[in-house]
Amino acid sequence: MQELGMRYRARWIYTTFIMTAVFLCSSYKPLPVYEPEPILPEFILNIPSYKFIEPDFNDYSDPVITCDSASSTIQFSRAGNLILLRAKADTTEGYFILDTGAPYLILNMTYFRGYPGNPTAEGSEGGITGSVSSATPTRVKELTMGGFHYHGVEADRINLGHIEDSKGVKILGLFGMQLFKRFEMIIDYENNLIHLHLIQKKEARVYKSEMLRDATAYNTFPIQIKDNKLLLNAIIGGKTLSFVIDTGAESNIIDSRLPNKVFNNITINRRVVLAGNGQRKVEALYGDMSDFKIGDVSITKLPFLVTNLEEMCTAYNVSCLDGMLGFDFLSLHKIGFNFVTRKMYIWK
């Protein structure tokens, strides 16, 4: 009983601290109802209100964010073409991969084994083919990255050892989409810079980085966020397809089961044989897509990895996604996102 009382007291103190911090830093908690500005009719149908909390989407509530300054420019390092952000999760400091394809914070089990949760259940993960569903959830009290402080971050833990082995870099975890939902983020691969701005409540509708002042320098495209996935519509061979924008993928990936019209525009140039689940060998093909459009903008040659993505249908439980746009797409130009107003900016 006494212990329970202690815990409540601790929580009360914690909450008070957080509330004060929030007040002081004039950050904000999830907004109440927010109507997005009208973009295109089809997206109005698709975009739920800003405060979209899917009640059935596990129980990862968004963390509270405080900041030293609302805007921050971060010099990032790379492992191959993956963006590495230096961050501190409670007392553990090191590199995390910026992975907009991951839904939320994912920690490397190796370095967060002692965290509350159920670490022994990892056995069911079955080595490197484990799925997120068998990962073990935990909670980071404070996650600090580039002057931003996340308080009470729900996280999954999985074994990221094979990424370390492949990249030769110690990886503490993955920064998933949930951590950036309140931000404007501009990625400059050429200079290894990320510009982040924590969008405040009162500027939610209107905020735009200084870098976006000259509207003729870039194109604007609507994006969607569903289940912490960042989605973009693109047109290939006259078909509108839905892609996940994924900074954690180096190649662009497209589903081989799409209509033939889509693949009339691809030139296959390499085959790769992968180990599938079990003994089975599975092929995937690299090719160049010659007719890729977002809005009115065409990309005449975009490399894709063609593979069967039927597994994505069940996992995203919305509808099947048609592919992913990774580094090969994101690095073409300077690129920015406003995750609050759901816009993507691509510099010309």
């Binding site: 050892g161 180096e250 033939n260």
Partner: protein, 496 residues
């Protein structure tokens, strides 16, 4: 006027003639080249090949799409159809002049999990990984230039040289030695080209020139390598060994062949220079054996007295790079021959004959930093090294001795004070469970080994049971689902 009309008619006639000719010739002129395509349709991949394709064209196709596992040449001749079907391919019926095979693209099951997806979509490794100047995988190398001599080297300073380009405004040098930074190493103009000096240790380096902002390989360097991303880079070896051979001068060709290049006879050509055959090379630290091949004849290096016997009852010449380690076996003064055999020479039992010295047997042998296993063979009978006593009396020991050169890390196991034997196993000793015996140190067990910088996985084998390190909280899951301890040694590699 009339002239103009006449001219027009003539032109029309001409045009008609040309058109008629074209029509007549078109089936010949426009004959299709044999079909060969790789396409995606209906969720399947299709390979379409004209049966008239010759083997050479097929080879090109196979190489382009990496189809070496498919017996395409046989299948074109109607053979090995069964094996194709077993691999999940299907032979489409239709045009008899075409071979059309298809296979459904299956799901890899690697995209849903964030971690698996990162690996699945991975194409590249980091710069440091892709361009290591010294690595266990690069045992040797030599430079091949045309139109100019290899770069001048003084002490460890290499003078990179770009010929001509006198009209260039600015030339930069970028390479693996400066992390490919384009704006760090400016080259200086000379009367014959551009130069830049770089201090390099022996090893393999990749570079490019940036001439007025344009990246280009060294056109005078015949060694180029694709970086796996489609970029070609020039390759330069900072050499650390010079082979020289003085013969009559009547030979037309001379080569070096050795343990470092798997004894390929005609891979490393020597050049005739100052009345002798020469070849400067880069060799990885350690002990290497070699012979010369001149006009088809193999022989040892006449000017090198350092020799090991080989399997043909002849000799190989020996190169030692690095500091020697003295193997010594005390006693056995009445033995006829004592042979050293170890992981460092592929456990060969005819190569390393020890010499009688100071009341025992000795052999100096040069090895780079690492962890090594060995044994002595005394008159045909294998025995471990009695002066290397760590394992003596330990149950379950493999019987091979081991030692470490350049020990830089001490493993310590706590909490097993009553264990009878403890072995250390990890990626650094091929997970050998019964060689690296640990020593008792108070209540702990300890062992010093050499570790390369980076990530290591290890476990302890305590009285035959594999256990992870109880005092290291970092461990990751393995294929047996019982975990391996994780250790990052040295300067943790910084990302690019």
């Amino acid at each position: 006027m009339r002239w103009t009309r006449y001219n027009l008619i003539r032109r029309l006639l001409n045009l008609g003639l040309v058109f008629a000719l074209l029509l007549y010739a078109s089936p010949k002129v426009m004959a299709q080249p044999p079909v060969q395509s790789y396409k995606v349709k209906d969720g399947k991949m299709f390979i379409v090949l004209d049966r008239r394709l010759d083997d050479a064209a097929l080879d090109v196709f196979i190489a382009k799409y990496d189809l070496y596992d498919l017996p395409l040449k046989e299948i074109m001749k109607g053979k090995l159809i069964d094996s194709l079907l077993r691999m999940g391919w299907y032979i489409e019926k239709g045009d008899p002049e075409l071979l059309v095979i298809s296979k459904r693209l299956e799901s890899s099951g690697k995209v849903n999990n964030a971690a698996d997806k990162i690996i699945f979509s991975d194409k590249n490794r980091s710069i440091a990984e892709r361009f290591p100047s010294v690595s266990k995988d690069v045992k040797y190398g030599y430079n091949r230039f045309r139109n100019k001599y290899s770069f001048a080297v003084k002490d460890s300073m290499v003078t990179f040289f770009l010929r001509n380009n006198q009209n260039a405004w600015k030339v930069m040098l970028a390479g693996s030695f400066n992390e490919w930074q384009p704006d760090v190493l400016a080259m200086t103009k000379t009367d014959s080209g551009w130069i830049a000096r770089v201090k390099l240790g022996p090893g393999k380096y990749w570079y490019k020139f940036i001439i007025d902002g344009r990246w280009t390989t060294d056109r005078d360097n015949l060694l180029e390598e694709n970086d796996g991303l489609g970029n070609m880079n020039s390759v330069y070896y900072k050499t650390n060994w010079l082979f020289t051979l003085k013969l009559g001068g009547k030979e037309t060709k001379a080569y070096v062949s050795g343990s470092f290049n798997n004894w390929e006879p005609r891979e490393l050509p020597m050049t005739w220079n100052n009345n002798q055959w020469v070849l400067p090379v880069y060799l990885l630290e350690g002990t290497h054996t070699y012979r010369f091949v001149a006009d088809g004849n193999w022989f040892v290096d006449p000017s090198n007295p350092d020799r090991f016997p080989n399997e043909f009852n002849e000799y190989n010449s020996v190169i030692r790079i690095g500091s020697p380690f003295l193997f010594r076996l005390n006693g056995y003064e009445n033995a006829k021959k004592v042979i050293l055999s170890g992981s460092f020479n592929g456990w060969k039992e005819y190569e390393l004959f020890m010499r009688k010295a100071n009341g025992g047997w000795e052999l100096p042998y040069t090895l780079g930093p690492g962890n090594y296993e060995y044994k002595f063979i005394v008159d045909g009978k294998s025995s471990a090294d009695p002066t290397n006593p760590e394992f003596r009396g330990i149950k379950g020991h493999s019987g091979n001795s081991f030692f470490t050169i350049g020990a830089n890390y001490t493993f310590r196991l706590k909490g097993y004070a009553n264990a009878k034997s403890v072995f250390l196993a990890g990626d650094f000793n091929n997970w050998s469970p019964n060689t690296f015996a640990m020593k008792k140190d108070g209540n702990d067990w300890i062992l010093k080994v050499h570790l390369f910088s980076g990530k290591h996985l290890y476990k302890f084998v305590v009285d035959g049971n594999w256990v992870i390190d109880p005092s290291n909280k970092d461990w990751e899951q393995n294929e047996h689902e019982n975990g391996n301890s994780v250790l990052w040694y040295g300067k943790i590699p910084e990302p690019d």
